[in-house]
């Protein structure tokens, strides 16, 4: 076979091998690659109350209330919901219905003590008067 065809074959073969190893490696590392857990993931992961983790979900409308020096609210992933207590500053875009990612500790299976809260907004962009 022509030399250039052999080189091409080697490169394609090498690239396929690389792609496969990348695929399997990434699959095996799942837990390390996600930035946060969803409320539904928490039960199966057996997280201790000393482990610093991140939880993400949507702030449930009507759940935002003052609590101590901060606030508390519920987040949901449409399957499971969870209380989040936050005493720190909330980002500007924080509101009920918004997506958030909270970092902190799972006090008990139903309450998350957040040390920080970030807003995870969705991919929709439109003017104020549009729908």
């Amino acid at each position: 076979m022509k030399l250039k065809h052999r080189r091409l074959l080697i490169i394609i073969g090498g690239f396929t091998g690389l792609g496969l190893s990348a695929f399997f490696t990434l699959r095996a590392l799942q837990d390390n690659l996600i930035y946060f857990y969803r409320p539904s993931d928490l039960a199966s992961k057996k997280i201790s109350s000393q482990e610093r983790i991140r939880v993400g979900g949507q702030v449930m409308p009507g759940s935002l209330t003052p609590f101590g020096k901060g606030v508390r609210f519920r987040i949901t992933d449409q399957h499971t919901s969870l209380w989040v207590i936050s005493s720190g500053l909330l980002p500007d875009l924080f509101r009920e219905g918004q997506g958030i990612v909270a970092e902190g500790f799972l006090q008990d299976p139903h309450v998350f003590q957040a040390t920080s809260v970030l807003v995870k907004h969705d991919e929709n962009y439109r003017p104020p008067d549009a729908r």
């Binding site: 490169i11 690239f15 930035y35 969803r38 920080s116 907004h121 969705d122 962009y125 003017p127």
Partner: protein, 236 residues
């Protein structure tokens, strides 16, 4: 069959340095003019005539600088990877020149994407950096661009080593694209390149696509200029 097509279209003549120099000398002012036109229209629509966002307000205007930069960083990498494949298989000198000319531009777009993304993230997300899959994989892209340059220019390892690295790094490109879908990330999913309707309002699509066009012709212009210079340096 492919050689027949290439001969018919006379594309391979572009691969001859003299032809490239002639064609690019003609195309460069055209490309620069298009770039200028698109930047003017793009910046006007981005900063003046387009509306604010229902939740982000005026902050949304960062999209018109950040998103095209991100698109270009990936497009240029694909171009570099294709040129690298041609270098390794066909050993074509013009492919080497084009790859080497494109890498710094791609790195610039990647750095711009990261910087503008961080600036945008601070008032919207509440942080300028997280190690989520999207941001980390784009940083990796910058390292692949840098690694190419290091191998080629810094360590003098030559075009073959650099081209190999470019192909290895190509695996990272679908990872960047899939990152927001495969894993939980802070970065939101795609608004444009996705199945289903675009999640951006038409009044915002206009500046976005104008700026994307401007960035594209910036790339084409600078690529041609760098390639011309590289050719002339080698001919000495």
């Amino acid at each position: 069959m492919s050689t027949a097509i290439i001969k018919t279209l006379n594309l391979s003549s572009l691969a001859r340095p003299r032809v490239f120099l002639n064609v690019s000398t003609f195309l460069l002012p055209l490309s620069l003019s298009l770039m200028t036109l698109l930047f003017t229209a793009g910046l006007y629509t981005a900063l003046v005539s387009s509306p604010p966002d229902y939740q982000q307000g005026e902050l949304v205007r960062m999209m018109y600088v950040h998103v095209p930069a991100s698109w270009m960083s990936l497009m240029v990498y694909g171009f570099v990877a294709l040129m690298s494949l041609i270098v390794l298989v066909w050993r074509h000198p013009m492919a080497e020149i084009l790859a080497v000319s494109a890498v710094p531009i791609g790195a610039l777009f990647t750095a711009l994407s990261l910087a503008t993304g961080s600036l945008w993230g601070l008032p919207t997300w509440g942080t300028f950096w997280v190690w989520d899959a999207r941001l980390t994989s784009v940083l990796a892209l910058l390292f692949f661009y840098g690694g190419y340059w290091l191998l080629y220019k810094g360590l003098g390892r030559g075009i073959r080593a650099a081209s190999l690295l470019a192909l290895v790094g190509l695996v990272n490109v679908p990872i960047i694209k899939g990152s927001v879908d495969w894993w939980n990330t802070l970065h939101q999913p795609a608004s444009i390149m996705r199945q289903g309707p675009m999640a951006v309002h038409e009044t915002m699509l206009v500046p976005l696509f104008l700026m994307a066009g401007a960035y594209f012709f910036y790339f084409v212009s600078v690529l041609m200029k760098r390639a011309q210079t590289e050719l002339r340096v080698r001919k000495r």
